[in-house]
């Protein structure tokens, strides 16, 4: 007869109240730590810098750490210097228009102009859009191939997706532009939403 070695289990004793609290606190602390971590990350990633141009009547918050440019034919342009490839861009431009212009006619004008200057420019759709402040606008979504402007550098074209929000205010067209590399469009789209939520057109 084969013998069996048996280790008797210690008798189960119920956890003390202190132990139960300790376990609960440990779990809560861990959850709190995670939450705090996410919060901190969100704060860092979503941190913004204010932009004010009272002459143009534009107030906005753009992502902190982005390159700001106010020297071009736009009120404001911010680009993400850390983005790989194409630098994600947020831009606001004001364009004088005639009394009969509509946001749709402005969108058509943008399309005609860009088809001349952007490689493979393609409109993916236009639709009515309502700005956070309730103003009506037209949303234009498009794509094109971004190429290096310096012919002495060898770079492959990058497919860029863009969204323009076009609205008319005080006799001028306001064009809000968001452009990002195609692969990152879904991940970065919240940048535009965040920007629109902070945008004030005076």
């Amino acid at each position: 007869m084969e013998g069996r070695l048996v280790f008797p289990l210690p008798p189960e004793e119920p956890l003390s109240r202190v132990q139960r609290w300790a376990h609960a606190i440990a779990v809560l602390t861990a959850l709190l730590g995670f939450a705090l971590g996410f919060l901190l990350k969100a704060q860092i990633v979503g941190a913004t810098t204010p932009f004010r141009d009272l002459a143009a009547g534009v107030l906005a918050q753009y992502p902190a750490g982005w390159l700001l440019d106010t020297q071009g034919d736009y009120v404001f342009r911010a680009r993400d210097p850390g983005a790989p490839g194409y630098r994600t861009t947020l831009q606001v431009a004001l364009v004088p228009i005639g009394p009969d212009a509509t946001s749709r006619s402005i969108v058509d004008g943008l399309t005609l102009e860009r088809a001349q200057t952007l490689a493979g420019y393609q409109v993916n759709g236009t639709e009515p859009f309502t700005l956070p402040d309730g103003d009506e606008a037209t949303r234009l979504e498009y794509a094109y191939a971004e190429t290096e402007s310096n012919p002495f550098l060898q770079s492959l074209p990058v497919v860029v997706r863009g969204v323009d929000i076009v609205t008319i205010k005080r006799g001028q067209a306001i064009i809000i532009t968001f452009r990002v590399e195609q692969d990152r469009f879904e991940d970065e789209f919240w940048r535009l939403e965040q920007f629109l939520a902070t945008l004030e057109l005076l």
């Binding site: 902190a64 750490g65 982005w66 700001l68 440019d69 850390g82 790989p84 490839g85 310096n150 060898q154």
Partner: protein
């Protein structure tokens, strides 16, 4: 040049507070990297690298069955960072010989490699006579319109070609083949200057450098790397067919390349440069977007010359040219030590674009120094022309000058230089005018007002009483009735005298000529013009000059204006004129703030008298602020001018890019693998900002470059010397890099080439 670094980190906290390692692992400085074959690698401050990149290959292309073909090729040079190209007009202007629908611009993207078609350009303006044109990059090679404000191309600055001296070293850049060869440079010296009518003593710079004809339109540079000349020659040929032509394409779509296909004309070798000074106005106008809109007259325009064949004739030599571009005397021999000689000849039926050439042999041996390779005609349709030089030695020998039109010899003349000076009877220095009450000849010299009498004063030397002499007067090439007077000399050996021509009905406006002969041989000759009304001893041809910005019935009848807002697009100078015969040469010149933009000399095309002849300037956008002046001349009459202010009346000061400075480029690599990092952002801050000051505002940035697929980057603007710079480098997945204190010393001449290593962000 020294390179030094100092880390700084505070500005990074905001951006990425947990990633705090600023590492600059290596900055290498490579000097003297000149990869251009046969280039001037050891040449002082001439940046051969930059010049090679600024030198472009141009191809005129046109549509053929089944595609496009090349019609003409040449070289050009970027003269601005936003894509203005200076080249020869014959390379890019549409003609029977060279049909041009588009101009393809190929760049040297890699030194030592053939150029790559990159852009299409359009002609901004050109001067066919000077064979100079300014192009502007307009479209990408795939047809997209270019935003020129985004361009930052390598370019060169124009130098002062008037400062060139004999034996100065020059370096010529260009493409020697039909696009299959890399850019080449060749070095030579200035061996002389050629004078030509209409331009003056420095119409051409002569060099002994061996320059292939396809390099026509490229650049010749001084030791400082400034563009001082444009190698120029045009393919010669008749009936639209060049003498030397390369067939490389099936242009008729028959799947064969044979004699029925169009060919690409090529010229032989270049031995002359158009001075950069002649291009300065064109370039300046192009930079400001100003165009010469020509001139017009609302009435009947005098028909241009027919299709008669162009001719040269009456070739003779003169040792000097007077202020009116006329020969002082005629010589058939010059003593040893002569340093000035000009060939004069009559021309007729010449047209813009006609190719002519001068070949000179000395004792039967071709002499390129005094020859002129085939060039476009730069004068009017008919008249008296000269070509020659002064201020440089003409060695002893027998010279034979042969003139060609479209490659066909049309006249030749010989002269011997050497031996002692000989005292032979001679007339010289003819000047024309009216006689005052004392019997003196007065006036401007070669333009007389309408009247009954024209007088000529001339000098005589070593004359012998009793020898026969003759005066012959011509009007518009035809001998004037009773205009031939022969006689026997009786005024003694030396002095001056006056002769006259008269007509009771009045001398007709137009071009006159006087020939003086001694013993049947031409000794002196000069042309003069009768034009305009008499104003004292002078002629008044143009009057009532005024300026308008529109052509309407109202402005045509108004007194014009002297001040305009800077929103106008055109300026019209309106003039009335009196007694100016058709085909009489006249000159107009536009100046902006005192600097010449355009200058043209041509034959008058309107009737003898009239009003509202207009000459215009324009801009596609609007004319820039400035004081615009139009200057009109007939012969040696004092110019008449009219000016108008646009905007503030002075050109704005532009802090534009400069072609002097130091180029910065390099490669960003992975520190572990050594492979290039594509898509890394290299930021060079303005000299006044350090990394610590940088708040991610683009106004603080001097230049920025995104690294290419090999990790290479390049700051397109040249860095001013004697300054400290800071850099910031960002790449996804890598720890950022920054550095202060990169020094570009005042005497830095060579490009700064950086190699930056980045560590992965684990």
């Amino acid at each position: 040049m020294k390179t030094s670094f100092g880390g700084s980190n505070s500005s990074w906290r905001r951006w990425n507070c947990s990633k705090w390692m600023v590492v600059l692992l290596l900055v290498g400085l490579i000097v003297g990297r000149v990869d251009v074959p046969r280039s001037a690698a050891a040449q002082g401050s001439l940046d051969a690298d930059n010049i090679a990149r600024a030198t472009v290959f141009l191809a005129g292309v046109y549509d053929v069955p089944g595609g496009r073909a090349i019609s003409c090729v040449g070289t050009g040079t970027f003269v601005s960072s936003d894509g203005l190209i200076l080249t020869n007009a014959h390379n890019v202007t549409d003609s029977v010989r060279c049909p041009v629908d588009d101009i393809a611009v190929s760049l040297t993207l890699r030194l030592g490699e053939p150029p790559v078609p990159t852009y299409y350009a359009e002609v901004v303006d050109y001067n066919l006579g000077l064979d100079l044109a300014v192009l502007r990059v307009a479209r990408e090679i795939d047809g997209r319109v270019i935003d020129r404000s985004m361009l930052s191309l390598p370019f060169v600055e124009l130098g002062d070609s008037n400062q060139l001296r004999l034996d100065d070293t020059i370096t010529v850049f260009g493409y020697p083949g039909l696009g299959e060869d890399p850019v080449e440079s060749t070095r030579g010296t200035v061996v002389g200057f050629l004078a030509e009518a209409n331009v003056g003593e420095r119409a051409w710079i002569k060099t002994e450098a061996s320059i292939p004809g396809v390099m026509s339109g490229g650049g010749a540079f001084d030791s400082q790397g400034r563009l001082i000349g444009i190698p120029t020659t045009a393919p010669a040929g008749t009936s639209g067919t060049a003498l030397d032509c390369r067939r490389v394409q099936d242009t008729n779509g028959d799947s064969l390349v044979d004699s029925r296909d169009n060919c690409i004309p090529v010229a032989g070798f270049i031995n002359a440069l158009r001075p950069a000074a002649l291009a300065r106005g064109l370039v300046r106008a192009a930079q400001w977007g100003i165009r010469d809109r020509g001139h017009q007259f609302s009435g009947q325009v005098v028909a241009p010359a027919g299709d008669s064949a162009p001719t040269f004739g009456r070739l003779f030599f003169s040792p000097a040219v007077n202020e009116a571009g006329l020969p002082t005397t005629r010589v058939t021999q010059l003593p040893a030590g002569a340093n000035s000689l000009y060939l004069f000849f009559d021309f007729a039926n010449m047209r813009p674009g006609t190719v002519y050439e001068l070949r000179v042999t000395v004792n039967g041996i071709p002499n390129p120094r005094f020859s002129l390779s085939p060039a476009l005609w730069s004068g009017p349709e008919r008249g008296l022309w000269y070509i020659g030089s002064s201020g440089q030695p003409w060695p002893n020998g027998t010279y034979e000058f042969t003139l060609f039109i479209e490659g066909i010899p049309v006249g030749d003349e010989r002269i011997t230089i050497g031996g002692p000076a000989q005292a032979t009877p001679q007339f010289s220095d003819i000047a024309f005018g009216l006689l005052d009450f004392r019997g003196n000849v007065v006036g401007s010299g070669y333009v007389l007002p309408s009247g009954n009498v024209a007088s000529a004063l001339f000098i005589y030397r070593d004359m012998i009483d009793g020898i026969p002499w003759e005066q012959v007067w011509y009007y518009e090439g035809v001998e004037v009735p009773n205009g031939r007077v022969a006689g026997t000399w009786n005024l003694g050996p030396n002095g001056s005298t006056t002769i006259s021509i008269s007509n009771a009905q009045g001398l007709q406006p137009g071009r006159y000529r006087l020939e003086l002969s001694i013993q049947g041989a031409l000794s002196a000759t000069a042309d003069f013009v009768i034009a305009g009304a008499q104003q004292g001893a002078f002629a008044q041809v143009f009057e009532n000059l005024r300026v308008a910005n529109l052509l309407t019935d109202e402005t045509l009848g108004s007194a014009g204006s002297t001040s305009f807002p800077n929103t106008i697009t055109d300026l019209y100078a309106l003039i009335d004129w009196r007694l100016l015969a058709p085909n009489t040469p006249w000159t107009y010149r536009w100046l902006l703030d005192g600097s010449t933009l355009f200058e043209h000399t041509e034959g008058w095309v309107a009737p003898e008298s009239g009003s509202n002849f207009w000459i215009a300037l324009g801009s596609d956008l609007h004319l820039p602020d400035g004081t615009y002046t139009l200057e009109l001349r007939v012969g040696d009459l004092p110019p008449v001018t009219v000016s108008a202010r646009v905007g503030l009346g002075q050109l704005p000061v532009v802090q534009g890019n400069t072609a002097s400075g130091v180029r910065m480029s390099g490669q960003i690599v992975d520190a572990q693998t050594g492979e290039g990092i594509p898509g890394a952002l290299f930021i060079l801050l303005e000299a006044e900002f350090s990394v610590q000051d940088f708040v991610w505002d683009e106004s603080q940035i001097f230049g920025v470059s995104l690294s290419d697929s090999q990790g290479r980057f390049e700051i397109a603007r040249l860095l001013p010397r004697d300054a400290l710079y800071s850099v910031v480098v960002v790449a996804a997945g890598y720890l950022p890099v920054s550095a202060d204190g990169i020094v570009v010393e005042a005497d830095a001449q060579e490009p700064v080439i950086l190699r930056l290593e980045m560590n992965r962000d684990l």
